[in-house]
């Protein structure tokens, strides 16, 4: 416009070149002092700089009106509307985009329910087993003369079918909660990232030694969407910091000395317990501790990292079981929580859970402190002892009757 270079302009108005680039391509709104500063440097009228953004906004508003066949929007006044009420216009345009993305998600889910062959086959098999059980049970319950041979046969059938039903239900729940099947996702960035991490085994040797996190993220950019890539960057940064704070060699020596005792390791290594749990989740299995699962939640209780292990899935959608030691630790920051829990299945499977919550303080008195809670899981052999705490995946798919933590009924129809 005035022959000034983009980088020079960005420097003079104190913003990054990439942010200026977003503004130029109408991907960031511009206004206020920044608009006036840029206009002054370029020696143009401020309104000239906002024309492009306004055109994009008007186009979106026109699309919003055309979405409704019987729309009564005054299309001839759309320019005036965007000009006089830019805030409301932008809000309307954003809502239209959001509706579009929600409609896409609903469409994808609906498509999946209708066309997913595995889901359809599982439900068919489930209904067949239920029918068979219902029929045989009704015959036995009706009474009347039933020869002992037939009675035995129907008892056996009910037993067989109920076992089959349990297997199908369990397989179905695992299928719906599977974390490593990218094809079964609806493309949410968290799902995409989970699938990527599961594929890599949650272990990144290239981030262990004075790692270049940016180079790592760049190297994996092709495999992920921009949002998932950004999330990977945050995880990689934490991973590299953890690796620097507790190198693999030190962890290995502590594992040899203490086995699976993260609290003792934390004391011996003078390392925070949450750091020890995260590092064990990465290297514990390779160091002979068997498979280890990990769940990390933020201060709101939202799961931000899930490393599932066999027979202990975490929910992909919705909230997790509030009885998980993860949330017990969240409620008691700084205190290590150690529990034996059991997951429902054909037989109750016991797991040892270690969890701890670390507060992330802030200097800003206006802001609440954040926290991060980490839970490490290790399967125990044998059946669950009576003393262990029953937990589940999430209420919707949990068969536990009379649970005091239940938030909503189970779809398994208790």
């Amino acid at each position: 416009m005035s022959g000034i270079r983009q980088a020079e302009l960005a420097r003079r108005v104190d913003i990054s070149a990439s942010y200026l680039n977003l503004i130029e391509h109408n991907r960031r709104r511009i206004g206020g002092k920044l608009l006036l500063d840029i206009a002054a440097i370029l020696q143009v009228e401020p309104s000239l700089l906002t024309e492009g953004a306004e055109a994009a906004l008007i186009a979106t508003l026109r699309e919003a009106a055309s979405d409704h066949r019987d729309s009564v929007a005054e299309l001839d006044k759309v320019d005036e509307f965007a000009g006089r009420f830019p805030g409301w216009a932008a809000l309307l345009a954003d809502s239209r985009r959001r509706i579009g993305s929600l409609e896409h998600a609903v469409q994808t889910l609906s498509d999946r329910m209708t066309h997913d062959p595995h889901l359809a086959a599982s439900l068919h098999e489930m209904l067949t087993s239920v029918t068979s059980i219902r029929s045989a049970a009704a015959i036995l319950a009706d009474g009347g003369d039933i020869e002992p041979e037939w009675q035995d046969r129907f008892h056996r059938n009910i037993n067989e079918d109920s076992a089959r039903l349990a297997d199908i239900s369990r397989a179905l729940v695992q299928y719906l909660d599977k974390v490593d099947d990218a094809s079964a996702t609806i493309g949410a960035p968290q799902d995409e990232l989970d699938a990527f991490l599961a594929q890599k085994g949650y272990c990144f040797p290239e981030l262990e030694d004075a790692a270049d996190v940016n180079a790592f993220v760049r190297a994996n950019r092709e495999a992920l969407s921009a949002v998932a890539c950004n999330m990977l960057g945050m995880i990689a940064k934490r991973y590299a910091e953890d690796a620097a704070d507790l190198p693999k060699s030190q962890l290995e020596a502590a594992v040899r000395a203490h086995g699976l005792n993260p609290w003792a390791m934390s004391q011996a290594l003078q390392a925070s317990p949450d750091l020890v749990l995260r590092r064990l989740a990465v290297w514990g299995e390779a160091m002979g501790l068997g498979p280890l699962g990990l769940a990390v939640c933020d201060a709101s209780g939202t799961l931000v990292l899930r490393k599932a292990i066999v027979d202990f899935p975490f929910p992909r959608f919705g909230s997790a079981c509030p009885l998980l030691p993860l949330f017990e630790a969240l409620a008691r920051p700084g205190y290590p929580v150690e529990r034996v829990v059991s997951m429902p299945g054909q037989t109750e499977k016991p797991f040892k859970a270690f969890a701890v919550c670390r507060i992330i303080l802030t200097d800003d008195p206006r802001m609440a402190s954040l926290s991060q809670t980490v839970m490490l899981l290790a399967p125990l052999n044998g059946t669950a002892p009576d003393a262990c705490q029953p937990v589940g995946v999430s209420c919707q798919i949990c068969p536990r009757d009379g649970c005091r933590a239940r938030r909503e009924p189970s779809i398994l129809g208790m």
Partner: protein, 122 residues
């Protein structure tokens, strides 16, 4: 000897339960467990009532019924269809194929018995 029902269903435990309740009601029940040669089996020994599962190995219940109605002149054979799907489009498919009654799993024994009695008396 009572009236004859031919049950084409691939699930052994459902076969046993339906056979039992119909036999107890005086019906002679014959069974067949796949769709491949189901049309031949029906043609070879026409029953008074045919009970047809939809999802069968080899050939679907819809296809079997269409063949019987369209190519073998079995327009009067009373047919009860059993399916795990109860959506309206499945009901439409069954009706287009020429079904007389349509019940969805999980059904009750009484539903099956009532349907077979109705069809047998029609």
């Amino acid at each position: 000897m009572g009236k004859r029902v031919l049950l084409i269903e691939d699930e052994p435990n459902i076969i046993e339960a339906i056979s039992f309740i119909l036999s107890r009601d005086g019906w002679t029940v014959e069974t067949h467990a796949n769709g491949h040669d189901a049309v031949d089996v029906v043609q070879g020994n026409l029953p008074d009532v045919l009970i047809l599962d939809v999802m069968l190995p080899g050939k679907s219940g819809y296809d079997i019924l269409r063949e019987l109605r369209a190519h073998h002149g079995q327009t009067e054979l009373p047919v009860l269809m059993l399916t795990a799907r109860g959506q309206s489009k499945d009901r439409d498919l069954a009706e287009q194929a020429g079904v007389n009654r349509f019940i969805t799993k999980p059904f009750s024994n009484a539903e099956v018995l009532d349907a077979v009695r109705d069809l047998g008396e029609a």
